[in-house]
Every structure is written in structure tokens, then in C-alpha cells.
């Protein structure tokens, strides 16, 4: 980078060179059949119970029929699911995969104009391994070093396609906030604000004061333009304040990393003070202590099943948190926050049967429909319903058991993973996989 800065002529030269090389697209253009029909499998719809066996008809990448029988055309490709289970694709509402560790611009506690898409490495082995675990949609979030980390990207895990073809089309934008020990540690270790939770929240208020001011300037400008004032001069654009103004205008879903019950309450109070809504608390390990209040605010949670004790603010974590919170009206999703756990979120959902007695339906929704809601794509994915995207996973065993393996993974009706194939089992990828970011349970400034 430094080198490019000193020799500005290099950059255009490079792009010319790249254009001349005409880099080929990663994937083979394997076109998916127009019609597919799954027969014989136990179909866990996530929205309307389980059909055993059920049938699902996929037409042009969308689910066209679900039931004990479907009216698929005779020309449809038949997938025999006898003895297998079919579920919606698994959705992870909290991943840091495929970012080569670029999850925190930890040089300032407020960096809302950092965009995750700019760090997204679509050839990362992280994506492949998640795909092999049945994950079809991920919300790639910033880490938790900063109070306001930046804007997320929603991907469909179409491993092997070009970067932009993996972006979930027209998904709402999300922005990552964080509070608690991580920002305390990152900035406190440098003797900078915020080194306490007092500092945490005041940093946010100060940022929103700036944003309000900025927004007012623009509102005034827009009003004048609307009145036909041709001489009015637009205020200078500021990417940071523009992003924060989008929060105040409700254009971005606010996703907040925090652990403790008191922090949920403080975050909700600040959200009310500045007039935005919190879409979900992530981690939220103490939600069981204040669930009714948070349920009333309409905020969901994306939580770990049973990780605990890795730091002080995770000391009161209990594995019953998810089900206890759900029973008190909170919408609950499970998430990985880990390149390891993302490979078996279905098994994590199975733990909810054990810890609190979730029904199969409730458990499967925690890794499909509920995370889809948190991301804001529940009208398109997360359940097996007519009209939704045909993101489907065929398992060799009950997906909530320890023994389930994803055998086939479809996204938009196209097969992206097939465990019966030799080698990787990928159907669209033929490039060189990049080593993942190695992001897991013990990374310091990112997850947890």
C-alpha cells in the first residue's frame, strides 16, 4: 500500500495489466435445472412443521410447491430423499469468515463507514467449510473492538462464483455496534477513551450528537432544494456522519455485540434517546435476566449455545439462555462467531432440545428463520415456503442430532455442494482456496 502511495502511476498501470490478462471467472457456468422435485425426505419447513415424508418442488430457483405431494412437471429433475432430511439452508447471523482477519478498524472507536464487503475474500476456505455444514446465508459483521465498527455484508454462500455474485441481492444494510470488555480493553490498553463502560456509551452519544447536527444540515438543504432554491450549496459529505445519519434515519439495522443485562438496558435507552431501533443483541448471554423488557422493545438476540467463562462478562452465561429468552417472547437465533462452529450450527440447534426443551421446530428456526429475520431477509429465505428462494440442505440424519452430515446444499435451486463427489465436493469451485482467517474461539479482538 505504502508503495502504491509513493508511486501513484503504478495503480492505473496495474489495472490495465489486469484487464489485458482478462482474468477468467472462477466458476464453471453449470446451469441449474429449471425444475427440481425432492421426494421421500422428511421435510422440516421451519415455518409450518415437519412433513414426513414431504415433497418440495423448485422452479427457477424458487420454491414452487411444498406438501405431501406437489404438482411438479414430469420433466423435473427428481432428487430421491428417501431416508434423508430436507431443511432450509442454515443462516448464520454473526460470522467473521472470509475476511482474512480484517474485522476491526481498531484505530478509532467510531468507524461506521468501514464496509465489510471491501475485505470479503470470496475464495476463502472458511466459506467452503461453512457450505459443507449447510450454511447458505451469512451476515459478515465487524468485530467488537469499536463501539461502532462499520457496515456488514450479507452473502449467499455460492462458493465458486465471483465476489459480487455472492452478495445477497438487495438485502438490508446492517451496522455493527459493540460495548463492554472488548472496546474497554482495546482502547483502555492505549490509555484512550473508552476504557470503561461509562466511556463506551458516551462515545456513542457524542457520535450521535455530531450525526444529528449533520443530518439537520442535510435536511435543511434538501428542503431548500425541494422548494426550488437553485443557489443552495450542498453541505460537504462526510462518510462517517452520513453512515450515522443513516442509523438515525432507520436505514440501517443495528446489530449490537454485548453480554451483560445492564448493557442491554443502557443500549435500549440510548436507542430511544436518539430514535433508532435495535434489531438484535449479539452474544446476549445474560438475556435470560431481562428478557421481558427486551422482548417489549422488539429486539432479537443472536446467541451462543454454551460458550461461557472466556471472560468476565461471559461468567453468567448459561446454556438455557436461548430457550428461556424465547419462552419470554424474545426472538432467538443461534450464531457461530467462529469459523469452527459455523460448520455445525445444526448440531448447536440440537443442543436447545437438551437445554430447555425446545421443540424440533423451535430449534430449527433458531438457525434458519430467526436469523433470517435478524438480517432482514426472512421474506426470502429461512423456511421452506412457496415463493421463497430454494436454499435447501439435504441431510443424511436428523439435522438436530450429533450425527447429521449435509449431503447436498442448494442455493437458489443450484447445487453448490455434494458430499458424494470426490475431492472437495464443490460443484462450482475450481480455483485455489485461500487459507481462512483462522478466526475462532480464541481470537482476541474480534469475536466473543
Amino acid at each position: 500500500m505504502g508503495r502504491l502511495r509513493r508511486m501513484p502511476f503504478v495503480a492505473p498501470f496495474l489495472s490495465m495489466l489486469l484487464a489485458l490478462m482478462s482474468v477468467p471467472a472462477l466458476g464453471h457456468a453449470q446451469s441449474a435445472p429449471a425444475d427440481i422435485v425432492f421426494r421421500g425426505a422428511t421435510v422440516m419447513t421451519a415455518s409450518n412443521g415437519t412433513l414426513s415424508p414431504g415433497a418440495v418442488w423448485v422452479h427457477a430457483g424458487k420454491i414452487a410447491g411444498v406438501g405431501t405431494t406437489v404438482d411438479a412437471p414430469a420433466s423435473a429433475t427428481v432428487v430421491d430423499g428417501t431416508g434423508l432430511w430436507l431443511t432450509p439452508g442454515i443462516i448464520d447471523p454473526h460470522s467473521h469468515s472470509a475476511l482474512d482477519g480484517d474485522v476491526n478498524e481498531a484505530t478509532s472507536p467510531v468507524t461506521p463507514s468501514m464496509h465489510m464487503i471491501d475485505a470479503f475474500d470470496n475464495r476463502s476456505a472458511d466459506l467452503y467449510r461453512a457450505l459443507a455444514g449447510g450454511v447458505t446465508t451469512e451476515l459478515l459483521l465487524h468485530g467488537s473492538a469499536n463501539m461502532i465498527g462499520g457496515q456488514a455484508v450479507v452473502i449467499k454462500n455460492k462458493f465458486g462464483l465471483d465476489r459480487d455474485a455472492m452478495v445477497f441481492p438487495n438485502a438490508p444494510g446492517s451496522i455493527k455496534f459493540a460495548s463492554g470488555e472488548n472496546p474497554k480493553r482495546v482502547y483502555g490498553s492505549r490509555d484512550q477513551l473508552p476504557s470503561t463502560r461509562m466511556g463506551n456509551f458516551e462515545v456513542m452519544r457524542m457520535a450521535f450528537e455530531d450525526a444529528r447536527h449533520y443530518m439537520a444540515d442535510w435536511d435543511a438543504y434538501d428542503a431548500k432544494v425541494k422548494k426550488g432554491d437553485k443557489d443552495v450549496v450542498a453541505p460537504k459529505r462526510d462518510l462517517k456522519l452520513e453512515a450515522l445519519a443513516d442509523v438515525l434515519r432507520g436505514k440501517l439495522y443495528v446489530q449490537i455485540h454485548c453480554y451483560r443485562a445492564d448493557e442491554f438496558l443502557t443500549e435500549e435507552a440510548i436507542a430511544k434517546e436518539y430514535g433508532y431501533k435495535i434489531r438484535a443483541f449479539h452474544h446476549a448471554l445474560e438475556m435470560y435476566k431481562v428478557a421481558p423488557q427486551i422482548a417489549a422493545d422488539g429486539t432479537a438476540i443472536a446467541t451462543f449455545t454454551d460458550w461461557w467463562g472466556f471472560k468476565d462478562e461471559a461468567w453468567d452465561a448459561i446454556p438455557w439462555n436461548a430457550v428461556m429468552s424465547m419462552r419470554q417472547g424474545v426472538r432467538v437465533a443461534l450464531k457461530s462467531d467462529s469459523d469452527d462452529h459455523i460448520r455445525r450450527l445444526n448440531v448447536e440447534a440440537g443442543k436447545m432440545v437438551h437445554y430447555g426443551g425446545a421443540s424440533e421446530d423451535e430449534a430449527i428456526r433458531m438457525v434458519t428463520l430467526n436469523p433470517a429475520w435478524i438480517i432482514g431477509v426472512d421474506d426470502r429465505v429461512g423456511s421452506i415456503e412457496v415463493g421463497k428462494d430454494a436454499d435447501l440442505v439435504l441431510w443424511n440424519h436428523d439435522p438436530l442430532s450429533t450425527y447429521a452430515r449435509a449431503m447436498k446444499v442448494y442455493i437458489d435451486g443450484d447445487l453448490f455442494f455434494d458430499a458424494s463427489q470426490p475431492g472437495w465436493g464443490t460443484t462450482h469451485f475450481n480455483g485455489v482456496m485461500h487459507e481462512g482467517g483462522g478466526f475462532g474461539a480464541d481470537d482476541e479482538e474480534d469475536g466473543q
Binding site: 476456505a125 467452503y128 467449510r129 459443507a132 455444514g133 470488555e181 435470560y288 435476566k289 454454551d306 460458550w307 461461557w308 467463562g309 472466556f310 471472560k311 468476565d312 461468567w315 453468567d316 452465561a317 448459561i318 446454556p319 438455557w320 428461556m324 467462529s338 469459523d339 469452527d340 460448520r343 455445525r344 448440531v347 440440537g350 443442543k351 432440545v353 437438551h354 440424519h397 438436530l400 442430532s401 450429533t402 450425527y403 447429521a404 452430515r405 475431492g423 472437495w424 465436493g425 485455489v432 482456496m433 485461500h434 487459507e435 481462512g436 483462522g438 478466526f439 475462532g440 474461539a441 480464541d442
Partner: protein, 439 residues
């Protein structure tokens, strides 16, 4: 603890246990009574499955095991109705850090590794073991009754392990001290700085690591020879060197050395050293040994696999590590499976997931019976407790688990755990929080 009713159903087991204060942990356990567990499906581990079985626990040991027809229930025995339940030996975690850590990020609550030098055989886990750690009841509730506690993997020779049971007074819990030597070899032990900071120092390469180990073992042999010679001549013994003293039983091959190693080429190097000094080896991890599996089998040493969740290489199939237990077992290797999470050092906060790691190995080809053995009998045998633990056999310690289904499935709920014949309170700090906020 007292079970107030003589005949208890599955439901009352858990209810009565909730009433028992967890302070019992620190005190000596009460004397075990005679208990008859009837009607359950017994997974004996050593001799198959017994439907509608009867298990008699007396004096803290298994007094009888068999079918309802075979086993006579002693008069006065407390009868536990296990109809519909699965009954199996307590699970044994082959690598844990129970009592060496509390809150991972809080360094003051950690006694994981003495990093001041890389050859630290004279570090005894027994000296640091904090038996009242909150981690133990949490793991116990999922059926883990025993564990090896080892120092973390920072050093080439990290110290000596203890073998514990997860209930009782501190003395009762430590079934064995200095049961094995914890060794490590590979990239992590190089002194190139690292997470704790510090500057690069010898040994900063694998060459340095192995040379330092070889010199240490040679020095120990020299020390032993001089000491023996002095003893023969009845000379005044030279000053005792605790580091060398600690290594003696391991260089004599009397106790096992657990070698943590990940890469195929590192395995070959360190096994060369082990052969040179006739160490009694248990290999640990072997995560990236896929290309030398036959060689690993030819070593004829037991292998601990953990974490099964460690990531494969970028160019490998997604299940390259998941299938490792199956591939090794297929080649006749005695395996154990550890509870560790993937992608980092061992953290016994997750030890309650031990049975699921074994279940995951089953999903990827390991026969079920081998998986259950890998978290029970095999671990006991590797660490010298094969005659006391790991299966439902007469004369063994009565460490028994009752669950409402398949022990390796995440959906299964453990109903009661017995350790040395005592019904352990099914309580942890976490159940107390749950109950407090469920009011």
C-alpha cells in the same frame, strides 16, 4: 447427600437433587450406600449392551452387572428405576485444564503454563489444582466423571499431569498425581515471542527445540548414572536436581509421556527422539497426520485426538480432520477423544461437550462402540486406571451415568451421575442461575 425416598422414579431423581446445596463439593463425600439401578439399557463398554439390566453399586464400587434375571438385588438396597434410561460408565476427558483456569481472559485466575523456561518437568499440576473450580460441576452435569488435567502447551516439557474424579474433597478428587509427563513439539513452542510478549530466544526453531530436548534427556541419564554410582559406593548423594528427578520415571519408561504434536513431519521427528530414549508415548492431537496414518499406526502407541474440530488445510476436504478418529481406529490404533473446541488451546469450559466430539467422530465413520471407548475405557487404560474405571464391570469404581437417550447425541439429557457410588448433586453455578431467574 441423602436421597430421601427409597424407590425413586426418573423424575424425582432430578427434583431431589436440585434441593441439595452444592457446598458438598468442598467437603468429603458422604459414604456410599447400596444402590440398585434397574430396568435401564446398560452400555457396559467392555462387554456389550444389556437391555433391562441391573447394576448394583456397593461401597463405591460396581458390585454386580447383568440382566434382571441374572442379578439378585440385595435386601435394603436403594432402588433407582432406570426404565427408559441409558446407563453407562462416567466419561473421561483425556485432556483438560480443570482447576488451572477459571475465567480464560483473566490471567490472575489462570495457572496454565510456566512459560519462564521450555523444559519444566518439575511443574506439578497437583500443586495448582483448584478443586473448587466452577468448571467441574458444569462438565459433570453432562456425564464427565474423570479427567486428565494437563498444563497448557506453551512448553516443550510442560509438567506432570494429574488424573482426577469430578467430585469430592480435593484429596478424593486427585486419584493420581504425576501420572504422565506433558510434552509438546512444533511451531507453538518456538521462543519467537508470542501471545504473552517477550523476545525471541533459544530455542527459536524446531532444530533448537529438539536439540534442547535431546540434551536434557542426556543430562538426565548422566544425572541418573552418577546418582546410582554414588548410591552403590554409599557416597554422600550429590545435590538433588528437581528437574532431572522429575524426568527419571519417564526416561525409565515407567509412566507415559503425552506428546502434543500436530504436523506429520513433526510427528516423525519427535517420535524419532522418543524411540531413541525409549519413552512410553501417548500421541496427542496429530491433527495433520493424514498422509502418515499407516506410520502412526506402526508406532503402536495410543493416540488422543483433539480437537476433532480443528480446521483442515485450505486445500483439504472439509472432513479431513473429522475423519481422523475413524481412519486411525481402522488401522488398529487405540484412540481417545478429547473435549477441546477447535481453533485454539484447550478450554475446559467446553468439557461438557466431550460426548458430542465422540458422536461427531461417529458421524464421520468411527464405529459407535469405538467412540464410546474413546471417552471411557481407552482413556482409563492409557493413564493406568484401566482396572478401576471406564466400563461397567464388577470391582470398578461406581462412576455411572443415567441419561434419557444416546449419550453421544446433543439432544440427550443426563438425569443422574454417580461418582464412587454417590449420587452427585445435579447442580452447578449455571443451574442455580437458571433456577433463580426462572422463579
Amino acid at each position: 447427600m441423602k436421597l430421601p425416598v427409597k424407590v425413586i422414579s426418573n423424575v424425582t431423581v432430578s427434583v431431589t437433587c436440585l434441593l441439595v446445596p452444592a457446598v458438598l463439593l468442598a467437603a468429603d463425600t458422604p459414604a456410599p450406600k447400596v444402590i440398585a439401578i434397574t430396568g435401564g439399557k446398560l452400555l457396559t463398554v467392555s462387554h456389550g449392551t444389556i437391555e433391562n439390566g441391573v447394576l448394583i453399586l456397593a461401597d463405591g464400587k460396581i458390585a454386580a452387572v447383568g440382566t434382571a434375571g441374572e442379578v439378585k438385588i440385595p435386601t435394603g438396597a436403594e432402588i433407582v428405576d432406570a426404565k427408559g434410561l441409558t446407563v453407562y460408565p462416567g466419561l473421561i476427558d483425556p485432556e483438560s485444564n480443570f482447576g488451572l483456569t477459571e475465567v480464560s481472559a483473566d490471567t490472575m485466575s489462570n495457572d496454565l503454563a510456566e512459560r519462564s523456561d521450555e523444559i519444566m518437568p518439575h511443574m506439578h499440576v497437583a500443586d495448582a489444582f483448584h478443586s473448587e473450580t466452577e468448571l467441574i460441576p458444569v462438565a459433570r452435569l453432562n456425564g464427565v466423571t474423570n479427567a486428565v488435567v494437563a498444563p497448557a502447551s506453551d512448553d516443550s516439557v510442560a509438567g506432570q499431569d494429574i488424573f482426577i474424579q469430578l467430585y469430592g474433597s480435593r484429596q478424593q478428587m486427585m486419584l493420581g498425581t504425576d501420572v504422565a509427563l506433558a510434552m509438546n513439539y512444533g511451531a507453538e513452542q518456538r521462543r519467537r515471542g508470542g501471545p504473552q510478549g517477550g523476545k525471541s530466544a533459544y530455542p527459536s526453531t524446531r532444530m533448537g527445540l529438539i536439540t534442547e530436548l535431546r540434551q536434557t534427556f542426556l543430562d538426565t541419564q548422566d544425572y541418573m548414572a552418577k546418582r546410582d554410582a554414588a548410591a552403590k559406593k554409599d557416597d554422600k548423594a550429590s545435590k538433588r536436581d528437581l528437574k532431572f528427578e522429575a524426568l527419571i520415571p519417564y526416561l525409565k519408561g515407567e509412566r507415559p509421556v503425552v506428546i502434543g504434536v500436530y504436523e506429520a513431519y513433526d510427528i516423525e521427528t519427535v517420535m524419532g527422539l522418543a524411540k531413541e530414549f525409549h519413552l512410553k508415548v501417548i500421541l496427542n492431537h496429530v491433527t495433520h497426520s493424514q498422509e502418515i496414518l499407516d506410520e502412526v499406526a506402526a508406532y503402536k502407541v495410543p493416540v488422543i485426538i483433539g480437537s476433532i474440530y480443528d480446521a483442515p488445510r485450505a486445500n483439504e476436504r472439509y472432513d479431513a480432520v473429522y475423519t481422523l478418529p475413524a481412519e486411525l481406529a481402522k488401522r488398529g490404533v487405540t484412540i481417545a477423544i478429547a473435549s477441546a473446541d477447535g481453533g485454539g488451546p484447550v478450554s475446559s469450559h467446553s468439557a461438557r461437550n466431550l460426548p458430542y466430539a465422540a458422536g461427531f467422530a461417529v458421524a464421520y465413520g468411527l464405529p459407535y462402540d469405538d467412540a464410546l471407548k474413546a471417552i471411557t475405557l481407552n482413556v482409563a487404560e492409557m493413564f493406568g486406571f484401566g482396572d478401576k474405571l471406564g466400563s461397567l464391570d464388577v470391582g470398578k469404581m461406581a462412576n455411572v451415568v443415567l441419561a434419557n437417550g444416546d449419550p453421544l447425541d446433543v439432544r440427550t439429557d443426563v438425569k443422574q451421575v454417580y461418582i464412587q457410588g454417590v449420587a452427585v448433586p445435579m447442580v452447578s453455578r449455571q443451574t442455580k442461575l437458571r433456577d433463580e431467574y426462572s422463579k
